[in-house]
């Protein structure tokens, strides 16, 4: 299923992200994706790009395909916000991205980690009371293999720069 929505441009998404992170005090940034599936790994690559560049109010996690493995550390961090970054089949041009609330995961957006991610988000929201959002990025190629495609490398860099400006 594909999402039919109008994502106007990257500035709009950046605006949404800025609003969402307003008053954020403790933020978990969790990158989700398989290292064996090319662009699927973009979430983790963005988190790697943030390593050693963020304050102690930000907890970076490279979840790979097992976000549930980090439930306890996330809860212990007592976040106010949890941002999950993942490749998702948005039906948009390659490299486009959007900020999605967990409730919107029911329906058209097809994440490569769709069902488990929704349950994961729900559980984290209930146990921590944090605001949860998914930064979903349209991949070009999620077939077997290593490394991001060229367009996604640029998207990863762009989003890393945005987050470095917006994170507390």
């Amino acid at each position: 299923m594909r999402r039919e929505c109008k994502i106007k441009d990257k500035e709009e998404t950046e605006g949404k992200l800025q609003n969402w992170l307003l008053n954020a005090q403790r933020v978990v940034v969790a990158g989700v994706g398989s290292s064996l599936r090319k662009d699927d790994f973009i979430g983790v690559e963005i988190v790697r790009g943030l390593q050693n560049k963020v304050s102690s109010s930000v907890y970076l996690i490279e979840c790979e395909t097992v976000p549930e493995s980090f439930i306890e550390p996330i809860i212990e961090f007592k976040p106010t916000h949890v941002l999950i970054i993942d490749a998702a089949l948005l039906g948009l041009k390659v490299g486009a991205f959007n900020l999605v609330e967990p409730e919107q995961l029911v329906g058209p957006i097809v994440s490569t980690h769709f069902l488990p991610l929704q349950i994961f988000c729900d559980y984290i929201a209930k146990t921590t009371g944090a605001k949860i959002a998914l930064l979903a990025i349209q991949p070009k190629d999620i077939s077997f293999g290593e490394g991001l495609t060229e367009g996604l490398i640029k998207t990863a860099k762009h989003l890393t720069d945005i987050l470095l400006r917006l994170l507390p």
Binding site: L36, T65, E68, S69, F70, E72, E146
Partner: protein
């Protein structure tokens, strides 16, 4: 005496899964034959086809909620092999640490909740008392609290390393998802130390309640519960029991090494026989052959699980467990021991080993290393073998060039024991039921013959082939059978 008669035990109790025992008496009231039937059907080997390989370690634990850790790591190891990647030492140690924690809670569960009621309360005590509540009444609430506490410790260790207490998620091809912090290490070390003391205490209970009771020792050594077979288990390079890694060693009914093989060779050693009266497959040793449900050196039937592991090995790798291993064999007349009820004793010895190994690994200087992942290579075919609490567990995957699953074959612990369980039930029934005398206590003693194996029928019936046979019976509101539809 009247004509032939059938006695049915349904449902069978104090095990994981569902099953039914049918005992056929002849005209004289003696047991002619007995069958264990397992009606569950799951389908994992079929519905995993086409899925991404890296999803399998998360799907496979859903085979069972009792031994999910075993399936998780058998699957992860199969992917290590399929992607031609050897995890770094710290990753292997973390996996084994979590694995030892799983044994602490799983073996504790079986001994206190499933097996012990028959001995602590008595095999022919009223059924309403022959359970964990009856055990608590006899041993006291303080001991019950210790049981619950140490089961929780084992599950906490799984949650810390594996992400969740049940259905862990940490295994990745080539390693594990996250390192252990020093704080977590200390927490695990404390729980492990307490678990060693608890395991020693559990062995004392077994000693006081079972071994000092001549009636129970005679039962353990009786013909009704004795079955000479081959035995299989994972061993390390010194032929000592290892739950997580090593080679698979098989000994014959005399205790001599029959074969020792690496995981990828399992199909040269094991074959599976099918009977039309049960959904469980019946594995046997290929070189010896399938001779029916008979024991002895000319029958390819083998056993797995605690007693089999101890029989197939040359000792335990930790000092306290090794002492108990030596004591068991000295008491029961040497190796190998063929007494099915001795599985309970072997199980508590393994509980002690698991606790000691958890403590040992928690103190290993590499256990908090951050080097926990090596990069997988291109996908192919791989076999992963671990020792589930119930016995040898094999996951075999064939992947395509996209890393999608083409074929899955699983031989799970209880499946390995299926032929032996059938025979143990039959032999116990024949030994205990005579001249048509049947009562609830005797039927429970027939159930004790399978209970010692700690069977998991959800695991054993994981597969589906062809079209699932189906029978639907339609009853009216007064429970009169109106129609039967069959496929």
């Amino acid at each position: 005496m009247s004509g032939p008669k059938t006695i049915t035990i349904e449902p069978i109790t104090r095990l994981e899964g569902h099953g039914k025992i049918s005992i056929f008496l002849n005209g004289e009231g003696n047991v002619e034959n007995a069958y264990l039937q397992v009606p569950e059907l799951r389908g994992f080997e079929r519905f995993c086809e086409g899925r991404k390989a890296e999803d399998l370690p998360q799907i496979m634990p859903r085979i069972c909620g009792v031994c999910p850790v075993a399936h998780h790591f058998a699957s992860t190891k199969a992917l290590d092999a399929a992607f031609h990647v050897d995890p770094p030492p710290a990753a292997k140690k973390l996996r084994e640490l979590m694995y030892s924690g799983y044994y602490v809670y799983d073996h504790t569960l079986h001994f206190y909740f499933l097996g012990a009621p028959d001995f602590v309360v008595g095999p022919d005590a009223p059924p309403a008392e022959r359970n964990i509540l009856g055990v608590i009444k006899k041993v006291g609430l303080d001991i019950a609290k210790e049981v619950i506490k140490h089961r929780a410790y084992g599950q906490k260790i799984t949650a810390i390393i594996g992400g969740k207490a049940t259905h862990p998620v940490c295994g990745l091809p080539g390693g594990i998802s996250k390192p252990l912090t020093e704080e977590e290490r200390q927490e695990i070390e404390k729980m492990a130390g307490s678990s060693v003391e608890f395991a020693k205490f559990t062995l004392k209970i077994f000693d006081d309640v079972v071994l000092k009771n001549k009636k129970y020792v005679d039962l353990i050594l009786s013909d009704a519960y004795t079955l000479p077979t081959y035995y299989m288990g994972l061993v390390d390079q010194n032929n000592k029991v290892n739950f997580y890694d090593g080679k698979v060693r098989v000994v014959d009914p005399e205790g001599r090494e029959f074969v020792k093989f690496v995981p990828s060779d399992y199909l040269n050693v094991i074959e599976e026989h099918v009977e039309d009266w049960t959904y469980v497959k019946l594995p046997y040793l290929k070189k010896v052959g399938w001779k029916g449900l008979v024991g002895g050196p000319t029958s390819g039937i083998y056993r797995v699980g605690p007693l089999a592991r101890l029989n197939a090995s040359e000792g335990m790798a930790t000092p306290l467990a090794q002492q108990e291993y030596e004591r068991m064999y000295e008491t029961l007349g040497g190796k190998p021991v063929h007494s099915t009820l001795a599985f309970h004793w072997a199980r508590v010895i393994e509980l002690l080993y698991a606790a000691e190994r958890t403590l040992e690994l928690s103190r290993d200087e590499e256990i908090t290393s951050k080097e926990i992942r090596n990069k997988p290579d291109s996908p192919g075919e791989g076999v992963g073998i671990v020792e589930a609490a119930r016995g040898t567990l094999i996951h075999h995957y064939l992947l395509d060039e996209e890393g999608l699953t083409k074929k899955v074959n699983l031989i799970v612990a209880t499946t390995n024991n299926a032929p032996a369980i059938c025979m143990s039930i039959r032999d116990a029934a024949k030994g205990l039921i005579c001249d048509g005398v049947v009562n609830e206590g005797l039927l429970n003693m027939v159930e004790m013959a399978f209970r010692a194996y700690d069977p998991c029928f959800a695991c054993a019936t994981h597969f589906a082939v062809g079209q699932m046979p189906l029978e639907i019976k339609i009853y009216d509101h007064e429970k009169r059978l109106l129609a039967t539809l069959k496929r």
